[in-house]
Amino acid sequence: MSLDKATVAKIARLARIKVPDDDLAALAGELSNILDWIEQLNEVDTRDVPPMTHVAAMKLKWRQDEVTGAAPRDDVIADAPEERDGFFTVPKVLE
């Protein structure tokens, strides 16, 4: 599966990873190679085979509706790159 630069740029945008224009072609090549290699899965006949979501046949366990506590605010914002008045701050988001 060949990815062109435009597609790689689009994926990089979706993943919020900046890829400089100069690097797009090389990256497209790398990713295309990997995807080509992955293509061999098409050789497998998977009609009527259910997708596997979990390795063990377990049932999802439910927790009780109990407040077990919030983390102390100091711990929550301890490593924050930027915070003010107890809030995390980021560049202004325009809606």
């Binding site: 979501t53 509706d65 506590g69 919030a70 983390a71 988001v93």
Partner: protein
């Protein structure tokens, strides 16, 4: 059919609503942090809610129960197996970079809601599905010019997303839908429906078409937080779309926001490509399995819901559709009314509740749960009218007194103030004679054919007896005397 008159003909507006309802629970959907509203920023955040490295979700079974309860209240199919998916997108108040939601296999399937419209009309609107998902935190854009402030208290609170079929055709219907849904949720105790606090939010899908044609392109107006705004947004949006089409343009499918200060919708600035959510089943969770018996138990324990209660009020208590509809709108009101009406004349009780009680509550800005006059007290007051102790007019005064002073004892107030009704015909006759004698002109007017003068005479008698004369007795004797 509700149609909108455009420049080139008639248009039909098609509306679908996606309501996000915060689940009433003590803890969040996948963590043990509390869900209270209004706490100091970032004080109700667990490490899971903050998406710290290595943190994992564990589902709150009560939130599952609340979703099932809601689904049953909406007469919907409960899916015994459902799956949680990751909905992937970047936003600073979405710490994980994905929201745990449900996409192809939601917990609740198709259901319906019956709307109460004007004039006693009803309409059934389809519910497409209901699913559970995490709420995001809050972004505050107005605290500082160059920055957005993030509070994660709300991050991870359980939401039920309730999606309607595009069955609504007017702002009125949309308003009735929200009101009815809100009422059902409050009856069930699964959501408090408080739109100002954000526990109920609406995404409104609006499109227009010529009657009989296929659906037009729709626009989604996100996060509208009052019924009035929903209605304004629909009206604005429908008009906007009709204008565009009549000018020869094409509707761009977009996500928009409603600006209450302008009464207008405008497009959001996020680009279309960011809507590739790349849903896939969340590998940190297993499929949600429900036990059919457990669901049946919840169904058996549902309270009587507004529709059923309204039907019962109409059938058993002989109330009309309008009165029944008003009384069942809020569970607390219905319960208050039922307590008052127990063993009494339902219509009279309905009048008291919908008239005097509601007026007093509105004036004081109180909810029915805060009424200083309890259902029992009001009932006792109504009994005093029934057994002739006081007239209705006096009862109003007593009610006011009870409201003001918080006294529970109507009988005591009546006794203390000597408000007992005067039914003694002798005493009444004496007063009537006095008034007749003092007002020959009015008597003549009556004899001359003016029926309305009776009212004036009654008023005078009432004044003379401080309102305590039994009105029926007054009327009987008065008419007899005037006929002479």
């Amino acid at each position: 059919m509700t149609l909108i008159e455009g420049r080139t003909g008639e248009w039909e507006c098609v509306i679908g609503l996606e309501i996000h309802a915060q689940v009433i629970s003590k803890a969040k959907l996948f963590s043990g942090a509390p869900t209270d509203f209004g706490a100091e920023p970032n004080t109700q955040v667990s490490f899971v809610d903050a998406a710290m490295p290595g943190m994992l979700p564990v589902i709150n079974g009560f939130c599952v129960e609340q979703a099932v309860r809601t689904g049953l209240g909406l007469e919907a199919e409960i899916n015994l197996t459902s799956v949680f998916d990751r909905k992937n997108y970047f936003y600073p108040d979405l710490p994980q970079g994905y929201q745990i939601s449900q996409f192809p296999l939601p917990i609740v399937g198709k259901g319906s809601i019956t709307l109460d419209l004007e004039g006693g009309e009803t309409r059934t609107i389809g519910i497409t599905r209901l699913h559970l998902e995490q709420d995001a935190g809050k972004s505050l854009h107005d605290r500082e010019p160059g920055a957005t402030y993030i509070d994660l208290n709300r991050s991870g609170v359980a939401l039920m997303e309730i999606v309607s079929e595009p069955d609504m055709r007017s702002a009125e219907e949309a308003g009735a839908y929200i009101r009815k849904l809100r009422s059902i949720l409050r009856y069930l105790g699964t959501c408090d429906g408080n739109m100002e606090e954000g526990s109920l939010r609406a995404d409104v899908n609006v499109s227009v078409r010529r009657p009989g044609e296929d659906l037009g392109t729709r626009c989604e107006i996100k996060n509208v937080n009052s019924v009035r705004f929903v209605q304004q947004a629909i009206e604005y949006e429908a008009a906007r779309q009709i204008d565009i089409i009549e000018d020869g343009g094409v509707i761009a499918q977009e996500t928009r926001l409603f600006d209450p200060s302008r009464g207008e919708t405008r497009p959001m600035r996020t680009k279309e490509e960011s809507h590739d959510y790349r849903y896939f089943p969340d590998p940190d969770l297993l499929p949600l399995e429900l036990d059919a018996e457990w669901v049946a138990d919840i169904k058996a324990s549902l309270p009587e819901l507004p529709e059923a209660k309204k039907a019962r009020f109409m059938a058993d208590l002989d109330l009309d559709a309008y009165d029944a509809g008003v009384l069942v709108a809020e569970r607390e009101t219905a319960e208050y009314f039922e307590a008052v009406a127990e063993g009494r004349d339902a219509k009279a009780c309905a009048n008291w509740v919908m008239g005097d009680l509601f007026a007093a509550l509105n004036k004081a800005g109180l909810g029915i749960n805060e009424a200083p006059v309890s259902a029992a007290s009001l009932g006792a007051l109504i009994d005093l009218i029934d057994d002739g102790t006081i007239s209705r007019r006096i009862a109003k005064e007593v009610f006011e007194t009870m409201w003001r002073t918080g006294s529970k004892d109507a009988a005591a107030i009546v006794a203390e103030k000597g408000l007992e009704q005067i039914s003694d015909s002798g005493a009444i006759e004496a007063e009537i004679d006095k008034v007749i004698a003092a007002n020959p002109g009015q008597v003549a007017a009556f004899k001359g054919g003016n029926e309305k003068v009776i009212g004036w005479f009654v008023g005078q008698i009432m004044k003379a007896t401080e309102g305590k004369a039994n009105p029926r007795t007054v009327n009987e004797i008065l008419r007899r005397k005037l006929a002479d």
